[in-house]
Structure formats: structure tokens, C-alpha cells
């Protein structure tokens, strides 16, 4: 398995898109911190980058990579290798290189300019979101044979998690305005890794008071050590479940 990871990583390190992504993140985060004199304002500006751009790039890049590696996968499958190992190696290689790009491009500037709880939480959430969306991309690419369709599914999933899901939640909130919705809100937010990341980062900032009564409940639930541990395990479940499903699919896939 180590050997396959090695070859996937070697291939990815030569990939221009990963390098471009790193530079893009670095330019944005450095300029944000240099334009604002208040680092927590900078963190807030970077929040949307982490919550929207990072999942988008992770999901689209990984899907395209897996489709482009079809030949490589075909070559490996005819060799004495376990299919699970091939697939997990591709996942590990992809996730670690995209994570590395995020860490270098965004994590390090954040930790330099805004060290502390919030910066640390944002870096951790960015990394977790990257892993989650790489896993989702692998699932999308194993489910569809057609490249265009697969990329479409991946983008649609990203769209769902970043926009449509919030729309549905807002709609439900308005429909059930007369009822106490704070507790169900916690459940809803667990259904979306992007929301979970957003809540955890916002709670670390002082502006969480802006969220009103829900925020108090959130603070109660997510604010303590147990809450954070629970959320991180839910995030990990969001990575493991699609990955496990894609392994099952890949095991029976015809190449």
C-alpha cells in the first residue's frame, strides 16, 4: 500500500493544479491579513474562503484526478494487489496532497498572523473539510462511469452542501417559526459538514452573539470539550462513510 501511495503522491506533486491552488490560497490569505490590521477581521474574511472554495477545489480536483487516473487504476487492478488497498492509497495520496496545499497556502499564514484558538480551529476545520470532500469526490467518481457526469455530480454535491442545504434549513425555519427550533437545528447542522465547520469556527469568534437565541443553544452543545469532540467525530464520520461506500462500490466495479 505504501508503494502505491508513493506513486500517487509522486504523480500529484508534479500536478500544476495543486501548486496553483497552494499559491492561490497563499496570495489570498496573505493579502487579507495585510489589508486588515485586525487579524480577527482577516479570519472572518477567510472563513468564506475555507467554507466555499476549499470544498469546491477538493471535490472537483479529486473527481477529475480519479477519472484521469483511470489508466493507472486499470493497470494496478490487473496486478497482484488488493483493490481496497489501491482505492485507499489513491484516497490517502489525494487527501494528503490537497491537505498539504491548504496547510501551506492557508493554514500557515493563519497561524502566523492570527495565532490562537480561532486560527487553530479554522485550520483544523479546513483540513477536515478537505478530507470530507475528497471522500465525497471518490464516491461520485466511482458511482458514474462517464467523466462529465461524474464531475457534474461532484459539483452538484458541493452546491448542495454549500447553498441548497442552507436554503432548505432556512425554509424549514420559516415554516416552523412558531415552534422552538433550537434543538432540531443542532441535528440539522450535523447533516452538513460545511455547517458544522462554520458553527465551530463562529463559536470561537466573538461574533457568535449575533446569531441570537440559537447561538446560546449551540454554545451549550458545541462550546464545551465534549461538544467539540462529538462534532469532530461527526466530521470524521462524514469522511469515512462516503469513503467506505466508495470502497464497496470499487470492489465490485468492472474495469
Amino acid at each position: 500500500m505504501k508503494k502505491i501511495i508513493k506513486y500517487v503522491l509522486l504523480d500529484l506533486l508534479r500536478n500544476r493544479i495543486i501548486i496553483a491552488y497552494t499559491i492561490f490560497l497563499a496570495v489570498i490569505s496573505l493579502s487579507v491579513f495585510n489589508l486588515e490590521d485586525n487579524p480577527s477581521k482577516g479570519i472572518l474574511s477567510l472563513l468564506n474562503l475555507v467554507l466555499i472554495i476549499v470544498p469546491l477545489v477538493s471535490v472537483v480536483f479529486s473527481t477529475i484526478y480519479v477519472y484521469n487516473a483511470a489508466e493507472f487504476i486499470e493497470l494496478l487492478v490487473s496486478q497482484p494487489l488488493r483493490r481496497v488497498n489501491i482505492w485507499l492509497s489513491i484516497f490517502t495520496g489525494l487527501a494528503s496532497s490537497v491537505c498539504m496545499a491548504f496547510l501551506v497556502g492557508c493554514g500557515i499564514p493563519v497561524l502566523i498572523y492570527a495565532p490562537g484558538d480561532t486560527g487553530l480551529m479554522m485550520t483544523a476545520m479546513g483540513l477536515l473539510l478537505t478530507i470530507v470532500f475528497v471522500a465525497i469526490a471518490l464516491l461520485a467518481s466511482v458511482l458514474t462511469r462517464d467523466k462529465a457526469k461524474g464531475i457534474g455530480v461532484a459539483i452538484l454535491l458541493w452546491f448542495y452542501f454549500t447553498l441548497i442545504f442552507d436554503g432548505i434549513v432556512l425554509f424549514l425555519l420559516f415554516q416552523f417559526m412558531d415552534y422552538p427550533m433550537e434543538k432540531p437545528m443542532i441535528v440539522f447542522s450535523c447533516l452538513n459538514p460545511v455547517d458544522l465547520a462554520r458553527i465551530l469556527i463562529l463559536l470561537k469568534m466573538d461574533i457568535s452573539a449575533l446569531m441570537g437565541a440559537t447561538s446560546a443553544i449551540f454554545r451549550d452543545f458545541f462550546g464545551n470539550q465534549w461538544g467539540i469532540a462529538a462534532t469532530i467525530s461527526i466530521m470524521l464520520a462524514w469522511a469515512i462513510m462516503p469513503l467506505w461506500w466508495s470502497v464497496r462500490k470499487f470492489n465490485r466495479k468492472d474495469l
Binding site: 508503494k3 502505491i4 506513486y7 504523480d11 508534479r14 487516473a69 483511470a70 489508466e71 493507472f72 486499470e74 493497470l75 494496478l76 487492478v77 490487473s78 496486478q79 497482484p80 494487489l81 488488493r82 483493490r83 465490485r252 466495479k253 468492472d254 474495469l255
Partner: protein, 236 residues
Amino acid sequence: MIIATNVTKKFSKLTALDNVSVSCNKGQAISLIGPNGSGKTTLIKCLLGMVVPDSGFITFNKKNIAHNWQYRSAIGYMPQIGRYPENMTIAQVLDMMKDIRKQKAVQLDEELIYLFKLDGMMNKRMGTLSGGTRQKVSASLAFLFDPEVLILDEPTAGLDPLSTEILKEKIRKEKQQGKLIMITSHILSDLDDIITEVIYMEEGRLKFHKSLSQLQLDTGEKTLSRAIAHVMQAGL
């Protein structure tokens, strides 16, 4: 050595393999023959575990190949269309395969690399290679690990006459060492002097599995291509 029992595979509505049973033994050189789309490649891919059959099972040395992967270390496979990572060089592909399939006590068989003169263009990227050169890389890889079983899917397609002769000579040599060799080819004259058995498939069904001498006797034809033409016409 390889026994397939009632293997059926459907691709949505198309039945690629319909209840196919074959058994192949050491020392045989088997030719898989059939019209386009008769399921030859699908059968080969089933043997390699690249395609999972819907029903039926395949055993390799009496072990079921489902959920098994070690058996593939005894197989050298040359695909019909060799597809390799575009931005790797020939040398990198060869090194990677050696690295992945590292087996102790196995002498690497690099003869074909030199016969095909691939050693002179080791630094060319796979994406820039012509179809024929890619075929040569596939062939070299299939023979590299000195496997017990060689599965060659259209080995001579795209090769120039000289390279075809080199490859045939190599196949002949391996056959004399008592290896199991499976070949599919449309250019039947290539096969005449190599093979001992013929498997004929049509529309996913196995029509017959005979030794070459038996086939010659049944059809009254000397050469393989005429014998097969006879079979196709008579609709055996």
C-alpha cells in the same frame, strides 16, 4: 489450472458472457477466437478479476479467485489497448511495476525490452508513444516477471512484422517451458504454429473447445484460419 464454471456477465441488457465454462491446463497454448463482441476480452478480464461475474465462479489452482488477489502474481497480462499514465516515462512505468510486484527468487525476464529496443527510449513519456511502441511496453511487462500464465489480448495488433516475429518467437519459447498461454487474435495466421487448443466463442457463448488437431480433423482444413472460416460458414 484455470477453471471457469458457468460464468455469466451482463452489461445492463447486453449479455457479454452466457454460462461459459472452460478449463485450461499447464503447457497448453490456447487461442480464444470469435467475432468482435463475442466476449473474449470480457472472459479474460473475468479471469484477471477486472470484471466481476454476475454468477458462476473461476478457480485458479483450485482456489476461487473472488476476494483473492495473490493469484495475479502468477499471471502476465498484455491488454488489448495498453493504457498507462500519460506523464510517466517507460523507465518509470517499468520501475513502478518492478517495485509493486517485487517477488523474491524470481529472475526478471528483460529479454523483450532489449529485443524491442525499448532500452534506447527509456526516457520517453508514455503519452508520446505510438500505438505499436505502447504494445511493446505491454508485452515486455507481461513477460517481465516470468509468470506461469500468460494472457495476451490481441498481442500482435499494431506491431510491425519484425516485432510480431520477435513476440511470436518469445511466446514459442515460453510455451516450451510448459507455461499456460492464452491468446486472442484476429490475425489467425499468427497463431498457426503456436497454439495447441482452440476456444471458439460467439455472442457470449462458448461454441467449442477443441485441440487444434481435432479441429483440423473435423473440418478437413490444414490451417487454422481456413478451419475457423469453415466453422463460421457451417455455423457449427
